[in-house]
Subunit: 298 residues, 2 copies
C-alpha cells in the first residue's frame, strides 16, 4: 500500500509520500514515490504515485523520456495541461498492461497526485485517476490523498484551511497525517519524503527525507502521541453517577460528561497515560492467568 | 453507512453505535443500531449492527423471537455460543435474501458486534461476519469495529489498552472515535448510543443516548477540536532555515523540526488556531479574486 498527499494553501504547496511497497505480506520493499521535474524559474512539477509499482514506473519512465526531449511536461502551457499529459500517459500504460492484469484478477489501480506551478499561473494540486481524468484541489477542498487515505484524513479535515494554514503548519499536519496512517496500517512506512513549495519560487528549495530512525521524526511522533493523550486527559471526563431516579431503579447510573480534575502543571516530558481523568473504579479484574485468545490469522 | 464499536478492557466493556442509515444520498434516516438482551443476574448481550437495514432487522427479529421463547440467546451456555447463534441467524437470513440481492448487484454485507457476559464466564466482544463466522476481541486487540471503521481507528490504536484503560476512559475514546468518523464521513451521524458495562454486573446500568444537539456531546466535540489544535501548536514546529550548504546552493533551505516558542498560559477557553507555531512567512498570497475551481460533483 501507499499513502501520499498534496496540500494547497494560500502560501504554497506541501507534498508528502511514504516509501513502502508490498506484494502480499512477505515482499516488502522501499521505493521513492515522489518524483520531481524542475526547470528553475520556469516550471516545477512534483508527482506522487500509488498503485502497482510496475505501472507507475512505466508512467514515470514515459513522462521522463518526453521531459528529457523538451516535450510533454517540459513544454505544456499550464498545470492543467500537465495533469492532462499525465492522464494521457496513464491511459497509454493502461492500454499496454490493463487487459493482462485483469485477466489474472489484478486491478489497474494507478493513482497520481501532481503538485506544482508553471510561470504566470498560480500553483495547484491535481489527482489523476486510473482512467486518466484529473481532479483539482480547490480552496474548499485544499488537499488530495491517494493510497491508504482514511486513517490520516480526520486530522487534515480539522486542521487544513486554504486561507489560514501556513506552509510550516501544513508540513506538520502532513507528517502527523502520515504518522496516523502508519500507526494503523503496516503497509505504509518510512522513509517519508516531504517538499514545501512556496508560491512563485519555481524551484524546489525545501525538501527532506525522514528515515524511520530520524531523530526529528521520532521526536515529532513521540511528542504527538504524548500530546494526544494529554489532550484527551484534559477533556471533559466521563463519569458514572447514581441516577436521579435511583429510588425506583437502585442499580442505575447515569453517564455524565464533567470537567476533569485540575491537572499538575505542564511537565516538559509527560508520561504516556500518567494522568487519570477520574477516580478509577477498582473493580475486580479478569484473572491474569486467563489463556490468551487466538489472533485473527492462525 | 454506519459506525459501531465494542471495546473490552480489564474493567468491562464499552459498546457504542451511531444511528444514521442511508440509501443513496437522498434517503437518510435515523435507526437505532444497538440492541440489548438482558436477563438480570444471568446474562447480558449487546448487539450492534451494520449493513443492509432490511437484513439486520431480519436477524434481530429472529433472535428476539427465540429469546422471547427462552431459546437461542436466552439459553445458550456461554458467550461463544451466543456468537455462534448470531452467526447461524445471519446464515438463515443470507439463505433467504442473498441471491435476490446479488442478482441486482447488492452485496449481502451484514456485520454484527456482540458484547456481553454470561454468568460464570468473563465478558467478551465478538464480531460476526456476513458469512456467519465469529471473531473474538483479545487482550492484544481489545476493540472491534464495523461499518466505516478507518477514520476512527487511529485514536483507538493510541489509547485503548486492555490492562490499563478504565471504563470511563474507554467511553471517552469511543465517543472521540465516533466524532472523528462523523467529521470525515457524512453518512455516520447522531444520535450516539453508548453502554458502559462493568465486569460481572450482569445487567445494563449505564446507558446513554447522545442526540446531535446534546450539550454534553457538543461540549466534548468542541473541546476535543480545540485540544487537538492546541496539542499540534505545542508540538515541535517545522521551520525552514537557510541550508548549511548555502554557499554552493544559495536558494536552498533545510526543513527543521524545532521546539515551538513558549506558549501563553493555559487560557480556559482556547481560540481555535489562535496560537502560531512559528514566524509566519509573509509570502504574497494568491489573488483573492481568483475564480473558485469546481467541486468534485457538479
Amino acid at each position: 500500500m501507499t499513502y501520499c498527499l498534496g496540500i494547497m494553501t494560500r502560501f504554497g504547496l506541501v507534498m508528502a509520500s511514504d516509501s513502502r511497497t508490498n506484494a502480499g505480506y512477505d515482499q516488502v520493499n522501499t521505493t521513492r514515490k515522489m518524483h520531481t521535474f524542475v526547470m528553475p524559474g520556469e516550471r516545477v512539477f512534483i508527482v506522487l504515485t500509488s498503485g502497482s509499482l510496475s505501472c507507475t514506473q512505466s508512467v514515470l519512465t514515459l513522462l521522463r523520456r518526453d521531459w528529457d526531449k523538451g516535450k510533454g511536461l517540459a513544454s505544456c502551457p499550464g498545470l492543467y495541461d500537465a495533469a492532462r499529459i499525465i492522464g494521457e500517459t496513464v491511459r497509454k500504460v493502461a492500454q499496454l498492461d490493463r487487459e493482462a492484469l485483469e485477466r489474472d484478477e489484478y486491478r489497474f489501480n494507478v493513482h497520481l497526485i501532481l503538485g506544482g506551478q508553471v510561470k504566470g499561473e498560480p500553483p495547484g494540486v491535481y489527482l489523476v485517476y486510473p482512467q486518466g481524468n484529473p481532479l483539482q484541489a480547490t480552496e474548499d477542498t485544499p488537499y488530495l490523498q491517494i493510497g491508504e487515505t482514511k486513517y490520516g484524513r480526520p486530522i487534515l479535515d480539522r486542521g487544513i484551511r486554504f486561507a489560514d494554514t501556513s506552509l510550516e503548519e501544513a508540513a506538520k499536519y502532513a507528517l502527523l497525517s502520515i504518522d496516523s496512517t502508519m500507526k494503523s496500517n503496516v503497509t505504509v512506512g518510512p522513509p517519508i519524503d516531504l517538499v514545501a513549495y512556496s508560491n512563485d519560487e519555481l524551484n524546489i528549495t525545501r525538501q527532506r527525507r525522514f528515515d524511520g530512525d530520524d531523530p526529528a521524526w521520532t521526536k515529532l511522533r513521540t511528542r504527538w502521541d504524548q500530546a494526544l493523550r494529554q489532550a484527551i486527559a484534559r477533556l471533559p471526563a466521563i463519569r458514572f453517577a447514581p441516577s436521579p431516579s435511583a429510588a425506583t431503579a437502585p442499580q442505575q447510573e447515569s453517564i455524565q460528561v464533567v470537567e476533569p480534575p485540575p491537572q499538575q502543571g505542564d511537565a516538559p516530558e509527560l508520561q504516556p497515560q500518567a494522568t487519570e481523568t477520574g477516580p478509577r473504579r477498582e473493580r475486580p479484574g479478569r484473572p491474569t492467568d486467563r489463556p490468551q485468545s487466538s489472533p485473527v490469522e492462525g
